[in-house]
Symmetry: none
Subunit: 275 residues, 2 copies
DNA sequence: GAGGCGCCGTATCGTATGTTACGTATTTTG
DNA sequence: CAAAATACGTAACATACGATACGGCGCCTC
């Protein structure tokens, strides 16, 4: 990666004229917040004129002020996504660090849960805890196994759970049985599948309540969804990670099971009898 | 203390109309970066119109968009200055801790990796990176989705990957094609399935190399297995957790992909051409 | 099935913002 | 010390940004 803007400034600050240097120091002092405000704010804070600010960012190599701001934002975003501080592991354990893949995954899971409110969880649990409303599950190329995993559990604790499998035309035939009270749980991460989007749209038109598990960039299906879980998927690997979504799915399964405890206990007993 | 904007959103998101909710979710998904950009950027990202964004921030209680942005920036600034006190819980857990379910899962994952040696990982990677040796995958009632997940990826990067599905008699018929060079990857956690054990034994007799993903109490299949990954599965939930095994699976997928990079790159290109 | 209500996007408007031209001040150089 | 070059701010400008008015559409109610 190229130098951070802070480094860039440190690098060139002594080639700058006095006023621009003041701008630089002002930015460094409260890095990077003042750079996200307007040129006027920046100039006022630094005690110089607007054009000086613009000449300053120009000297840093940016074509214009918005470009400079975008760079700052990108830097911030990267910084927020990888809180390096968390290494905490006692290095006495022979192996100093765990694999970056593992760390990234753990952080993804944490971050994903951070963005899911309890209320949201509860509402989804409620939605999926109504045994009289049919629940359909489906996923994309790589995420369908997660849908299957959820379906495998839900099927046990309540009736009316259906995992949609096979060809697209097959799903569509199931639409006829979906109504306003029913729930469709979709897993869709990049690259989002057209077939799923089409299906979600049709279901939405029938009034089906859609719960979407997607990545942080949100599948277009979010448009039709009543609830959206946005999981972090970025890992140092050629593939995106579905681990965070998997863990969320497990958490949901647990809570739904508790919610249905009374009713499902009898059901499970009956099932075992049937063997 | 005033509520953070993320909390504010979680609080009111269900009183919002569909489009505004979409804006809210988009913001939460990549919090808070998109909120620092222009209304046009924000609206485009969320797939709604500019006025919807403005109505959204208005509903949050801000007089205008710049005021909203300033609030976001203030929050960011506070967060950056005290990197330790990352506002951790938008979910007002009262106790200020994340859910026990989440913590247990994270700990399980860590612990699982701690017990997997690097050499073991490398050997499994090697075993699964030989495209000329057939690789069969199968799992139990709840773990088969994880097997499917792995199969979905492996199928893309190399030939001769088969997920064993359907009835037990069906698997057995596949035995005929398994030999000493081939690999059978089995997922089996409590309660261990007899059918899997039987199958593993038969495969073992044919000299098939078995890689077993199980829980910390080890499925009886461990007896036949060349490599055993023992994942932690205990969580405060009525069910056991497969998250740790899932993460290990993902880690393996990543490393195998890298291992086969050269060969699989061409394969993937060919595949995309076939669409 | 008709009427009413709320949601949401299109199009338009005013303005705040970044940008540029230019003139004055300051420093540098021979 | 004079003259040139550079630095810097004032002021005018254009763009793009946020804000708003309006109309259509879907949804619920009766």
């Amino acid at each position: 990666m190229a130098l951070s803007i802070a480094e860039l400034i440190a690098d060139r600050i002594d080639t700058m004229p006095a006023s621009e240097r003041r701008a630089a120091q002002t930015l460094i002092a409260s890095y990077p917040m003042i750079g996200l405000k307007t040129v006027a704010d920046f100039s006022m804070q630094a005690g110089v004129s607007s054009p000086t600010i613009l000449r300053f960012v120009s000297r840093l190599g940016f074509q214009n002020y918005p470009e400079f701001q975008s760079a700052l934002q990108d830097e911030l975003a990267a910084q927020l996504q990888s809180p390096l501080s968390r290494t905490a592991s006692p290095s006495s354990h022979g192996r100093g660090e765990a694999s970056p893949m593992l760390e990234a995954t753990l952080e993804n899971i944490r971050e994903t849960f951070r963005h899911v409110s309890e209320k949201q969880m509860r509402e989804i649990v409620m939605l999926l805890s109504n045994p009289r409303a049919k629940t359909f599950l489906i996923g994309g190329r790589f995420t369908d196994p997660v849908a299957r995993y959820m379906a495998a559990h839900l099927t046990i604790i309540r009736p009316n759970v259906f995992h949609l499998t096979g060809q697209e035309s097959n799903w569509r035939d199931q639409l006829i049985d979906m109504g306003k009270r029913d729930v469709l749980l979709i897993f869709d991460i990049r690259r989002y599948q057209d077939s799923l989007v089409r299906f979600a749209e049709k279901a939405h038109q029938r009034g089906v309540q859609i719960v979407l598990f997607t990545d942080q960039w949100l599948s277009p299906i979010a448009r039709f969804a009543r609830h959206v879980i946005a999981g972090r998927t970025a890992v140092p690997s050629p593939w995106d990670s579905s681990s965070a979504l998997f863990v969320v799915a497990e958490a949901l399964i647990g809570e739904i099971t508790r919610e249905l405890e009374a009713e499902s206990a009898r059901r499970i007993r009956e099932m075992e009898d049937l063997r």
